[in-house]
């Protein structure tokens, strides 16, 4: 196992000369959007699920993607870290630039991309192993720590940032499935943070949680945007209004409206947006 990973890293280093480099680190230009979708369309076979999306996601903000069921918001978010690649019949048109580089360009390594764009899912999905091993999984497979102390530090920092450290610091070796739903979700967030991404995609992260846990996750999101860029998919308009900086409203695969959260909710420009907000779409 270890040899396979060393080989993978060596391969990647060697190929980096031939591939477009996808560097980790701070975005070069803080004022330019971190992720830029340009005339982006996505297809499952013949069905066009995303139609000509032009969207800017700015760094250190929470961009909310909203819309009725089936509008393509989950698909959109999954194109940002290329999780859709494995789906048979999936193809794209257009460009998605992460920090200026097209993530769908031919030489790009989708595995490395996922270390820069992390994801948290709707239903908490910790591995059935210890809390420590859950958080350490990413750093271990990407060899982010040179020794045990560094790994311990990464695990501790990630759990602290996910506001879970105090609750689990004395039982790191216990199975993650013993945690409550809200704690499991924060563990999944800590696990995603441990690989030090730049962007965190959250696909309805609180929809399976009770209100108390939801509140904690929302608090966490607001804190996360200081260091990371968050893209949040949610059905919950109150949540979007509470935490969102910008809101993108999708309807049947098209980007209908995009703007600051307060503008979109208080003065929606598009009648579809207004209908959705009022709950009659």
């Amino acid at each position: 196992m270890l040899e396979e990973e060393v080989l993978m890293n060596e391969e990647n280093d060697a190929l980096r000369g031939e591939r477009q480099p996808l560097k980790r680190g701070e975005p070069s230009d803080q004022s330019a959007p971190l992720i830029q979708l340009t005339d982006f369309s996505a297809f499952y076979g013949d069905v066009e699920v995303l139609k000509n999306i032009n969207l800017s996601i700015e760094s250190n903000k929470i961009t909310v993607v909203m819309g009725p069921s089936g509008c393509g918001k989950s698909t959109l978010v999954r194109t940002l870290n290329r999780m859709n690649d494995e789906v048979p019949g999936f193809r794209i048109k257009g460009k998605i630039l992460l920090d200026g580089e097209d993530i769908y360009a031919p030489g790009v390594d989708p595995v490395l991309l996922k270390t820069r764009v992390g994801m948290v899912f709707q239903k908490p999905n910790p591995f059935p192993i210890s809390i420590y091993d859950n958080v350490a999984f990413g750093p271990r497979i990407h060899k982010l720590a040179k020794n045990k102390e560094q790994l311990n530090a990464i695990v501790r920092e990630s759990l602290q940032y996910a506001a879970l450290w105090e609750e689990v610091k004395d039982r790191l070796e216990k199975n993650a499935l013993g945690l409550s739903g809200g704690q499991q979700q924060r563990l999944c967030i800590a696990r995603a943070l441990a690989v030090k991404p730049e962007v965190i995609l959250m696909d309805e992260p609180a929809s399976a949680l009770d209100p108390g846990a939801t509140y904690k996750v929302e608090e966490l999101m607001v804190e996360l945007k200081e260091k990371y860029t968050v893209v949040l998919v949610t059905h919950n308009m109150q949540q979007a209004a509470r935490v969102g900086t910008s809101v993108a409203f999708l309807y049947r695969g098209e980007l209908v409206e995009f703007g600051a959260a307060s503008d979109v909710f208080e003065n929606p420009k598009n009648p579809l947006t207004e209908k959705y907000i009022r709950g009659i779409l």
Partner: protein, 316 residues
């Protein structure tokens, strides 16, 4: 409870219809009681039938185990286990060392072949195939392999390994034939155990930037391990109990296996049961009983160890 709303209907009290009394609540009326009693009776009858069915299965099994344990323990002794069989037909004495050693060697060889191929095949089917015609065909082929009669397999083994490959009656021929028999069980249970690992776990690993291989090695195999081991143990139990595939490939030998894999017949316990039980010799019968006892015990022990071990493993 307020019964004031229960009244006598019109015409109450005549012989044609039962009387609805004011003081007895509606749910205790005569017709209603017998319905309830009938349901309870039916439930009890079915319970009794179910218990009888279980007994019908367990009693013969218990009787069989008891009989072989009784005779086997009467006969068992260190010499019986460590000396080789002497003689044949009406004069048989000695012990089972050759058969025990032969069974051990054959099973080990067969397992060494079956386990890697079966597990890797199951991994392929679960993780890398895309439910194409090819994988459907592979699955179908494995299922047919499992359903084949073992004597046909033995005959095929004879034709291919003993004759065509020219290995003669040998441990290699016997082990390979056994491994063909055992393969489908390992293959299918591995695939099923892997498929049981939830997709959410795989998704989470991929989202963290794991390659497919890493995900399989570090997570999926780990959680599927109890299921995979179950399949292996099942296959070993089946392999231990087989006679026909070995009859024409390993033949039999009264001598301890010398380690030669080719051109040397080898003994095994199931042959002793098959042949010696029919020989006109008390010594032979003793050995037959002892072999049966050893085989039953081995399968029992393997299953118990498997369950205990798996329970420990599943406590992740």
């Amino acid at each position: 409870m307020d019964h004031s709303n229960v009244r006598s209907p019109e015409g109450a009290g005549d012989n044609a219809s039962p009387t609805l009394s004011v003081t007895v609540p509606a749910w205790k009326q005569p017709g209603v009681i017998s319905n309830h009693r009938r349901r309870v009776m039916k439930g009890r009858i079915v319970e009794v039938l179910a218990v009888l069915c279980i007994l019908a299965v367990l009693l013969p099994l218990g009787d069989m185990i008891y009989m072989f344990a009784y005779r086997g323990l009467q006969v068992i002794s260190i010499p019986k286990l460590t000396t080789i069989t002497v003689g044949s037909a009406s004069f048989v004495s000695g012990g089972l060392a050759n058969a025990i050693a032969g069974t051990a060697l054959l099973i080990s060889l067969a397992a060494a072949i079956t386990i890697p191929i079966g597990v890797l095949g199951g991994v392929y089917m679960s993780e890398f195939s895309n439910d194409s015609r090819l994988s459907e065909g592979l699955r179908f082929a494995a299922d047919i392999m499992a359903g084949n009669s073992s004597i046909v397999l033995g005959y095929v083994g004879y034709l291919v390994f003993v004759l065509y490959f020219g290995w003669g009656y040998s441990a290699a021929a016997g082990a390979l034939t056994l491994s063909i028999l055992m393969f489908p069980y390992v293959f299918r249970t591995t695939e099923l155990a892997l498929r049981k690992v939830p997709a959410s776990i795989r998704e989470a690993a991929i989202a963290l930037g794991s390659t497919k291989t890493t995900m399989i090695n570090r997570l999926v195999l780990r959680f599927a391990l109890p299921g995979i081991l179950t399949g292996i143990i099942l296959a070993v139990g089946i392999g231990l109990s087989e006679t026909a595939p070995l009859l024409y490939t390993a033949l039999f030998s009264n001598y301890l296996p010398s380690g030669a894999l080719f051109h040397e017949p080898i003994g095994y316990l199931t042959y002793v049961v098959y042949v010696y039980s029919q020989l006109p010799s008390n010594g032979a019968h003793d050995l037959a009983y002892l072999s049966s006892f050893l085989l039953i015990s081995a399968v029992l022990v393997i299953n118990v160890v498997a369950r205990v071990g798996l329970r420990k493993l599943s406590k992740v």
